[in-house]
């Protein structure tokens, strides 16, 4: 059976991504332009006001939000970067064998210690 996978990858292999990107961009631009040209335009002050279920809008819309979201984002950044370390490890898992496994167990142990700590610290307590 003929397999489709190349053995050696070339930079040219990545070129089609550009084509795909061009296509996507073209489609998006097309729909934007067309809808802009086709649709009617009738503005009024009341209509332009931001929607708050019919009640008059109060204050700035871009208000500070709960810090929990921020904490979530920060945690993601940290843990996601830890996950980055696992990708090469996972791909080469079999070659690394037992040594690699034990090392990663230690790594994950530390990760989990930190994880347990932040949970205990109340990161997911949205009530307060």
């Amino acid at each position: 059976m003929l397999l489709a996978t190349p053995v050696a990858y070339q930079p040219a292999d990545y070129l089609p991504i550009l084509i795909q990107f061009g296509l996507a961009l073209a489609f998006v631009a097309f729909s934007m332009v067309v809808s802009h040209l086709v649709g009617p335009k009738r503005n009024s002050k009341v209509k332009d006001a931001s929607f708050e279920c019919g009640i008059e809008s109060v204050g700035n819309a871009r208000t500070p939000i709960s810090v929990k979201y921020f904490l979530t984002a920060i945690l993601f950044v940290l843990f996601d970067v830890e996950v980055i370390f696992m990708y090469p490890w996972a791909v080469n898992f079999r070659e690394l064998g037992m040594f690699g496994f034990v090392e990663m167990l230690m790594f994950m142990g530390l990760l989990l210690a930190g994880f347990y700590y932040i949970i205990k610290k109340g990161i997911l307590k949205w009530q307060n």
């Binding site: 053995v7 050696a8 990858y9 070339q10 930079p11 500070p64 810090v67 921020f70 984002a73 920060i74 945690l75 950044v77 940290l78 996601d80 970067v81 830890e82 980055i84 370390f85 090469p88």
Partner: protein
């Protein structure tokens, strides 16, 4: 396959990587020195780090030496920690003065 990735990268002359990284780095440095918004300064610092990453990865490929890439991983991890701490600090300041302009921070004279 592992051996082939460096070959791929090597199809581009090394100087290009160096110039690219240097340009990226310079943009970052200029940003840090000229911008006044803490977040933008911070982003410029990240830009500098990424320039370093590109450079290290390129050198690593050209020297067929994995150490450079390992270093990149560590830089990324450290940068993430820095992001966490840095954004935390910026948020803390924003909560106190409702702004992130470093020029407003003059409680301590330079």
């Amino acid at each position: 396959m592992e051996q082939t990735i460096p070959e791929v990268i090597r199809t581009v002359p090394l100087q290009h990587y160096v110039f690219f990284a240097a340009a990226l780095f310079s943009i970052g440095v200029l940003g840090v020195l000229t911008r006044r918004n803490a977040i933008i300064i911070f982003m410029c610092v990240e830009l500098m780090l990424n320039a370093v990453n590109v450079l290290l990865a390129a050198f690593s490929a050209y020297r067929a030496d994995p150490n450079g890439q390992v270093f990149v991983f560590f830089i990324m991890a450290v940068a993430a920690a820095e992001v966490a701490v840095g954004l935390g600090i910026i948020v803390m300041i924003y909560r106190n003065i409702q702004n992130t302009d470093v020029n407003l921070l003059d409680r301590l004279k330079w």
